[in-house]
Symmetry: D2
C-alpha cells in the first residue's frame, strides 16, 4: 500500500494550489485529495476549446499535469516539492461535453522520482463518462537542500 | 525539402487560430507561419505560473501543442485538419523570465501522420534565450471524408 | 466491449510471429492471444542484461512493443497490419529475476490508430511478480491499399 | 559547452559496454565515444527484423537507449552510473537497408537527471542515410551512495 511521509499533505497541497496562477486561469478545481491520488474538474466553456469545438489538447495536458503532480506531492516528506520532469499525453477521443473530470495517481513512488498516470474524462448529460486522454509522467522530488543549492 | 499541399495555408491557419478559445485565454500569439514551421510568444504574468513562480508545465505543453500542431497543419491539403494523437514534453529548466517563446516544426510529414517537435524558451532581460522544454508529437491528419463519417 | 474485425486473428498473429526474427533472437514467447490482449514471457539469461545485471531497457521496450502491437493487431480487419508509430516506456524498478512476463492491451481502438499499453513484470522465486516497466503506444493500421500504394 | 566530470569516461564506458549482454546479442557496436555524444552501428540481418522485413521497433528502441544512455554516462562523475527513467521513440520511416546507425546526445545534463535524444538511421547502398526513428529520454544518475543504500 502506498503511504505518505507527510501527515499534513492535504493542507500543504491546498496551500500550493492557492498559488497556482495558471490553474486558476483555467477554472480547474481540485475536488479530492487522497494519499497518492488526486481528482478535479472544470465546467467546459468556449475558452477551453480549440477550433473544432473540442477540449484543447493543452488544457487536457494541464489538468493531467496538475492531478498527476499533486498525487506525487501527497507522498513526499514535509518541506519537499515535486516538479514534472516529463509528461506524455495520449489523446484517445475528442473532448465534447459539459464537464472535464481528471484523476491522477502514483504508480511507483521512489525517493527521487515518482511515476504517475492521469486519466481525463468528459461528462455529457445522460452519458457515461468518456475517457478522452491518458497521461504518464515522471515527477522529480525537490528536497529543501536542492532549493538552497539554487540560491 | 518540406513542401505544402495547400497554397492558402497561412490564411487557413489564421482562421483556425481565431477560433482557438484556449489559446486566447493564455494570451499566446503566433508571430510567424512558414511551411512546416510556426513560432509564437507570450508575456509572462502571474496567471501563467505554478506555485514556485515558474511557467506552469501545462502552459508549456499548451504552447508546444499549438506550434507543433499548426506546423503540421501548414503542410496538409486544403480542407484537411490535424489533431494531436500524442504529445510528450521534457521539462529541462525552470521557466523564469519576461517572455515565453516557442517554435514548432515538422520532422516527418506523412499522408496520415506527421511527427513534429517543439522547443520552448524563456527570454530574460540581458540573457540568452534559455531552452526550458522540448516536445515531440504525433499528429493525425483528418480528411474531409473523416469528418463526414462522424456526422 | 472490445471486438475484433478478424475471426482468424489468432492464426494470423501466429503466422506473423513466426516471421519475427528479432523476437526469436530475444527468446521471448507469446503464451496467450485474446481479443485486444496478448501475453508472453522469457527466461532471463546473461544475454538479456545490461552492465548492472538488470534486464536491459531495450529488451523491456522490445517485449512491450511486441505485446502492445499484437494486441492492436488482434482487432483490425483481415489483411490489415499494425505498425508502431511511437512507444514510451517508463522504467519503474530494476529487472532482476528468473522470468520476464509481459502483457499488452488496447485502451482505444480506432479505424486508423490504436492506443495500447503494456506492463512488464519480473518473476522471482518465492516473490510476487514485480512491475518493472509500463509502456504506452500509438499503433497505426496499415490497410491493404496502403501497402499497394508503396509498391 | 557540455563538459564531463570524469576524465576517464571513455575507458569507464568501454568497461560497461563489455558487460552489456543484450547489446552483444544484438550485434550493435559503439564506434565513437565523445563528451556528451555516442555513436554506433550494426549490420542488418534477418534476426533484426519484424514480420514485414523492417528493422524491429524493439531493436531500434534498444540502440536508441544505448547511445542516449552512454551519452549521459559520459558526463557524470567517476563512480556514478546512469539508468533510463523513461524512453520515447517515434518511428518515422520503415527501416530497410544494410546498416543501422545511431547517435545519442545530451540536451540537458543536470546533477540528478539528464535529458537525451537519439537518432537512428538506415544506410542503403547508393542512398543518403534515412532517419527512421527519433528518441527522447530521461536518464537518472545513480551515485555511489545510492548503490550502497540498496545493499
Amino acid at each position: 500500500m502506498i503511504k505518505t511521509f507527510n501527515p499534513d499533505f492535504k493542507q500543504d497541497i491546498r496551500e500550493k494550489l492557492a498559488r497556482q496562477g495558471f490553474m486558476k486561469l483555467t477554472g480547474f478545481n481540485i475536488t479530492k485529495i487522497e494519499v497518492g491520488s488526486i481528482e478535479g474538474e472544470l465546467t467546459m466553456e468556449d475558452q477551453h476549446l480549440q477550433q473544432m469545438g473540442f477540449a484543447h489538447g493543452g488544457l487536457i495536458a494541464t489538468v493531467a499535469d496538475i492531478v498527476a503532480g499533486f498525487a506525487a506531492a501527497s507522498l513526499v516528506p514535509k518541506g519537499h516539492s515535486v516538479v514534472t520532469a516529463e509528461l506524455k499525453v495520449s489523446y484517445l477521443n475528442p473532448g465534447v461535453g459539459e464537464k472535464l473530470w481528471a484523476k491522477g495517481y502514483v504508480i511507483k513512488s521512489g525517493r527521487r522520482l515518482s511515476f504517475c498516470e492521469a486519466e481525463v474524462y468528459v461528462i455529457k448529460e445522460d452519458h457515461e463518462p468518456l475517457l478522452i486522454a491518458k497521461a504518464t509522467t515522471t515527477m522529480a522530488t525537490i528536497t529543501p537542500g536542492d532549493i538552497k543549492r539554487r540560491d
